[in-house]
Symmetry: D4
Subunit: 253 residues, 8 copies
Amino acid sequence: MDITSILEEYKKGTLSLEAAQAALAERGRSHTAQTADLGFAHIDLARQERCGFPEVVYCAGKTVEQSVTILTLLMKKYDNIIGTRASKEVYERLLPDFPDVQYDDLARMVYQRKDTTIVNGDRTIAVVTAGTSDIPVSEEAALTAEIMGNKVMRIYDVGVAGIHRLLSRADDIRKANVVIVVAGMEGALASVVGGLVSQPVIAVPTSIGYGANFHGLSALLAMLNSCAAGVSVVNIDNGFGAGRLADILNRMR
Amino acid sequence: MDITSILEEYKKGTLSLEAAQAALAERGRSHTAQTADLGFAHIDLARQERCGFPEVVYCAGKTVEQSVTILTLLMKKYDNIIGTRASKEVYERLLPDFPDVQYDDLARMVYQRKDTTIVNGDRTIAVVTAGTSDIPVSEEAALTAEIMGNKVMRIYDVGVAGIHRLLSRADDIRKANVVIVVAGMEGALASVVGGLVSQPVIAVPTSIGYGANFHGLSALLAMLNSCAAGVSVVNIDNGFGAGRLADILNRMR
Amino acid sequence: MDITSILEEYKKGTLSLEAAQAALAERGRSHTAQTADLGFAHIDLARQERCGFPEVVYCAGKTVEQSVTILTLLMKKYDNIIGTRASKEVYERLLPDFPDVQYDDLARMVYQRKDTTIVNGDRTIAVVTAGTSDIPVSEEAALTAEIMGNKVMRIYDVGVAGIHRLLSRADDIRKANVVIVVAGMEGALASVVGGLVSQPVIAVPTSIGYGANFHGLSALLAMLNSCAAGVSVVNIDNGFGAGRLADILNRMR
Amino acid sequence: MDITSILEEYKKGTLSLEAAQAALAERGRSHTAQTADLGFAHIDLARQERCGFPEVVYCAGKTVEQSVTILTLLMKKYDNIIGTRASKEVYERLLPDFPDVQYDDLARMVYQRKDTTIVNGDRTIAVVTAGTSDIPVSEEAALTAEIMGNKVMRIYDVGVAGIHRLLSRADDIRKANVVIVVAGMEGALASVVGGLVSQPVIAVPTSIGYGANFHGLSALLAMLNSCAAGVSVVNIDNGFGAGRLADILNRMR
Amino acid sequence: MDITSILEEYKKGTLSLEAAQAALAERGRSHTAQTADLGFAHIDLARQERCGFPEVVYCAGKTVEQSVTILTLLMKKYDNIIGTRASKEVYERLLPDFPDVQYDDLARMVYQRKDTTIVNGDRTIAVVTAGTSDIPVSEEAALTAEIMGNKVMRIYDVGVAGIHRLLSRADDIRKANVVIVVAGMEGALASVVGGLVSQPVIAVPTSIGYGANFHGLSALLAMLNSCAAGVSVVNIDNGFGAGRLADILNRMR
Amino acid sequence: MDITSILEEYKKGTLSLEAAQAALAERGRSHTAQTADLGFAHIDLARQERCGFPEVVYCAGKTVEQSVTILTLLMKKYDNIIGTRASKEVYERLLPDFPDVQYDDLARMVYQRKDTTIVNGDRTIAVVTAGTSDIPVSEEAALTAEIMGNKVMRIYDVGVAGIHRLLSRADDIRKANVVIVVAGMEGALASVVGGLVSQPVIAVPTSIGYGANFHGLSALLAMLNSCAAGVSVVNIDNGFGAGRLADILNRMR
Amino acid sequence: MDITSILEEYKKGTLSLEAAQAALAERGRSHTAQTADLGFAHIDLARQERCGFPEVVYCAGKTVEQSVTILTLLMKKYDNIIGTRASKEVYERLLPDFPDVQYDDLARMVYQRKDTTIVNGDRTIAVVTAGTSDIPVSEEAALTAEIMGNKVMRIYDVGVAGIHRLLSRADDIRKANVVIVVAGMEGALASVVGGLVSQPVIAVPTSIGYGANFHGLSALLAMLNSCAAGVSVVNIDNGFGAGRLADILNRMR
Amino acid sequence: MDITSILEEYKKGTLSLEAAQAALAERGRSHTAQTADLGFAHIDLARQERCGFPEVVYCAGKTVEQSVTILTLLMKKYDNIIGTRASKEVYERLLPDFPDVQYDDLARMVYQRKDTTIVNGDRTIAVVTAGTSDIPVSEEAALTAEIMGNKVMRIYDVGVAGIHRLLSRADDIRKANVVIVVAGMEGALASVVGGLVSQPVIAVPTSIGYGANFHGLSALLAMLNSCAAGVSVVNIDNGFGAGRLADILNRMR
């Protein structure tokens, strides 16, 4: 209802003062996300409506108590809920109340996935990983995309030092709609994959390596400097961000 | 033709030895991009077929002679061709032979755009810029996307220090299919836009600023650490990369 | 008493030699902080008189023994005393002698707050925090300001990725006299708040985040590059410094 | 007028439909800054009302044309206007139309200062500078504060390597209401001044130095790590930001 | 002559005191390189004997005068002499006296190559380059190796973004005895080549790129973190060092 | 068999259709490394044939389970197998099945060395170490080279602060075919050794040191900037990479 | 004995061939430090003669076994011996054999100090420390200087934030012959002391601090950029190096 | 005169009120350096008395006008005066008034040296330089020390890549009282010299080099991590600081 209509209807009496006030407030509110204020956190309760998936909880830096409180509130309201970088203790505290809650040790994710509908039909997200040590980050990406309703194809340990491992999977990768490349050390895989496919490539540098790796800096800089088209980069070890972005891209049409 | 057919037809005599050899070689070659070897450069002549747009020439670090030679070869073969980070001299050397060639001072791009078809219908790419000083990078992004056949909406100078400038354009930005955010200094615009829209956001840090900006590092790090979903990052000042990726995303369906 | 008066009064005999010497020395001494020399530490015993609050003890890097000795000396002399980055052991060692001593687990602060007078009337300090994980630093700031006699308004978890959480609190923030903004990751909150209010904004980057956060560097650089007026920055995770500066600003008139 | 009143008065007829609409819109608009959209820039035309001083133009990265256009618009509307990091060419282009425009070579500021009222009575801002080479940044700070209506006391070349130069001016500095400390190299002056005064200290690191100065990094880090209370930091060489913040602090009461 | 022989011969009288002293001193001197002391430089006149090639002159940071003096001394004594990072002025000053002196604009090398013998028979050094912009560094490497007597195969512009350009040259590269890989931006070429060949790979990062390239840091870190066996790294843009090392490796047997 | 022969033989009937197909496929396959796909890893089973030594397993970042599975597969197939950066637990899990498996505490290497043939006759690799604290990295290099069939000479604790320790061993070092220099702190040993010998020098910076060592950065940068000819660098603490490269160089002829 | 004498005496027969050879060798050896080769370490047994104090053992990165073996060898031969960065376990292992061995918890030094002669008469070394948390590094410096025979004056906790604490001790500091300044955080103390005294100042940055301290980088850079004359810098937390250098300076005459 | 005496003499009348005031003030003033206040600079006119040499003028960042004004004031008052990092224009402006003024192109120093007395007798300062390109910094150090009255021995181009050049000069270097080592690139010379001599070594890293030299960072870090005793470090390219410190050390007795 626009302002004029509200004014008119109020004047006519078809809207009471309270209803008119509420209608005007509602207009404002549609700009304001509906949130639950826990004091230590404002939970966004309109995000699924606005963005297609409820708020995801970053558990690092929060107390177990805080994480559990927030996740409890969300898991009651939504079928599919994700907590990233969560300790196992968070999972164990949730389990009695939420029998469906799951925990992935590698990805350090706690999640509830009651709704397993695949929303994007045949559209697949490929998660391509340079080495076995990169798998924890890859799984965070893959799991995130799956819980959000996507089909995921995992292609692991195909780093560039043995380029034929990658080339032999090139046709598989080309079948995907979106490609996530996860690599540490020199991070070269993103550029090579970017040159092989015409789909968008989401590059995730990992902190795997040592010495002049500087906790992922080498892979990060390499990926940012990729000379291949269609490559963009998320934060070091940010598997979640890559999975979330892949989900967004996979819904584009 | 598959291997069996080639073998059979050679045995039958419908293929000569030379033709059979050629056919087998051809199968291999389809894996190899067709390139023109100029000695100092291998020009990819199959990229439009493979990726939807011909090779783009990065002119920095090349001599004017080299840039002109490569662009000449490409402009003869394709309608729309882009040279990035080009000096005006490259443009002036091309002009006599290519009357359609254009030069954009701000974006430092030389290009030929004979084909102005919009390939993606109503799908628009929004280029949102924090400040006026970021416009050269924004124009590189916008122009790239336009030359590749996209409709571009420019929304400039809406940085977060006056958040209402941005909010008043939020509905316009939400109408775009893909959003490019260009910002220097603290690079906060990417996170704020990422929280306002559900489309993918391509963040381009710029080197605009001074002091603890460290030539774009502040904006780069801020964008990589964005807590908003759907944000990925390209290199500092890489307007071209953002425009190219936006074109790829805009073609997804 | 100025030099001339001392000389005159000495000559007149209204000041004895000792008294004149003392008076002259006193003038010099007023420039020299009165300190208690513990060998390993010089405790400033005139700071409350000079700066409005006694010396605050930075406990990191000190042995428990050293921290306890210094705090004991100060707590005996002053009502309100703060020890920052203190282990719980320091608190437990003080408790038998100082029943009023308190410990805040989140802020890692040990403190005595016998005097709870609010010194600044209605003038409020707003502590605005991007995410729940930033609360330990925020609490260090808020508690510091409170112990020093200020009224504090806490507005937590209003980061820029959901800008409406912040906007819905903008009027509250504008009521404050000074604003502290605490944020990790991309640190964008400082710029956005700086653009919304006309009060001074003290920005505190936190080390919350991972990867290209580089232990708070991303937020620090972003805040230093803020394009909003009135924003200045303290060290990463320096909640105490922000609280102390806010107290100083809140006393200006 | 609040929503209820508007509704009631409209119903009563004391407000026409248009007036009621306007009143409701006005409430929204007060949140939205009024801006002039130049395409390449959105000029904030309500900032003086909102923040006490009109928008300041950062000229670096803008073309001379863009800077002149924006400054022209602002200088027509306001008495006192500042353009920072401006080339002399900008000034020369403005001079024919704005005979009052001035240019400061050291500070690289172009400005119009028609209104020279001192707004803060006796409240003085001290600008304290470590060395002669830091004067360009100091002058940017001092001039900014002066144009905004403050009284400024310049105390230059009192760096810590000869601490008595500083101590002999300590009483002068203590008379100020706000202190700006400008220093390059090791940036130690901020800590020493911070320990001498009880006023807020705004520290401005400069890029003066060489080698391990790393373009101001040494002074920046030193100032951020200051162990003195009441010190906060702005960007390297950001004299303007310091002057602007000092003006804000000087207006607090 | 060993010590015992010298003693014996001196005793016998076949060596005079002076000769015995000289012989003993000579033994010590053989440890000391014979040098020409120019005051501002000690020219090593025994390096060809010791290391297979005379001293190479790094001209950056030297005055033209100094470079010319040193090169003159060396060019008189040896057939093949190299000056790196030399301005054209050095060449022009040498030309009148050394008609054989040459200058390579791209590589910024001044050199005299009177002896063009290929010393290593069929052993070839492959110089593989990612992009056209890397050619100046590649040419410094290639030219260095050639002047030192090696056969060089140049394979330019085969960067990983179009992996087939590289794969189609893999067999050529495998024919080399030593491989130099020159790449800027993400520097991925070194890892991919390292995985394709069993020869030693000398990786040369270049400063080609911009933004998060940080003047070659991205390629440097990527190459240091290469997960391929047999890859070692020289300084950014150090084509000379790579050519020199390749020469050493090419002489191993 | 080349393509022509296959075609001819198929036509003649000496090859069946299946055999001809297989022969053609085999040609392609020889380009593709034969790998065992474990899901979480692609084990390269042709590397010994291709590169002279089987795949080496980097155990950091892998679970014990993953490391054991991969090493089991490789140890069954090959005599000599190396796992680097392995925990002792990996060794203990392998021991029951592989009685020959060994573990080196200092080098953190697990390995099987059934074949102790020296493959390079008299050619020795010298491993020269600056200090005792660098020995773990040196041993990783030395052990790697030994397991691959090389003779290794260890020269430890001859850092440059007592140059005579090094000079007294110079003749020994000159007898080696390849020299590995392992040094932390200022990393100067690489340059000094590089100036003493004409063989190739592989420099390994270590993270030994503290403060401005920045985890090996000081030694890394020093080695990359070495002004001695013939020095190239591998990653910080990468003893394995140095040993592997030395093996490759030692096989050159 | 010089060469001529040896030759002469051999000829005369006063030296046997063996004695002459030994005498000649001895001359060479005097250039070569006499070392004990433990395989993992070359212990310098001539350093006291050459440099005034025996080799000091850096225990970090060495096994307890290695440290104990080296220290045992040295403690047997010399009265005063130092092991830095030693664990208490090293001390406990030495105690049974060396009842005089001592351990300083703060400085993490193990040492034997049988000879307590003060070698430099009245010449004192002042160790001036910014804060209590810097004491561990200060004690390493002070103890080192004392064990080497110097008189040390400790002046602790006189950081610049309360400049009067320092000024009140200025006359004491001026009485010293050499001044060591130990400071973390902003490291400003070195510059202020450097401006107060005319003696040489050895600045030791410490890693005390957090956030933008970056493990001592802030103090290191500040000290390197000191504008005071006579200040030089050693590594972060290198109390030993400062104490050793102060000993050298204190012996100059 | 002490306070008591002043009081007594005033009482007795031997001091007038004014004289007593002056005497008391004088006592305070002795703490305050006497300075000439030029507005933009406070020139220290008591430094020669206090520190043995007048204030040295750092001309970088100052206008030519400012430098000339300050130098004029000092050159009138003192015989020997130094301006560092001065443009030739400063020299040319001074020449008409100060016929003795000199300019050194390499060192970029302007200076007046009317007094050429050698103050330290036979005590020599050795300036040892790695390469010819380091000479400008070396000359700044050498000239500084000479103007201050020291005898300087220059030993240039003896870098570690040819260690025998250095060893052959070791005895010369050992004759010096203080050693300055100037080196860029890997900066290894400081450690090697530090191990050869027992005198104090002042290490000056230079910015000579390229790539991973990062403008002197490699040499700086190497020198800070020197494992040789007696080495301390000044800022990159700070020849002046080294010369000044050497002068101070050379006066110690």
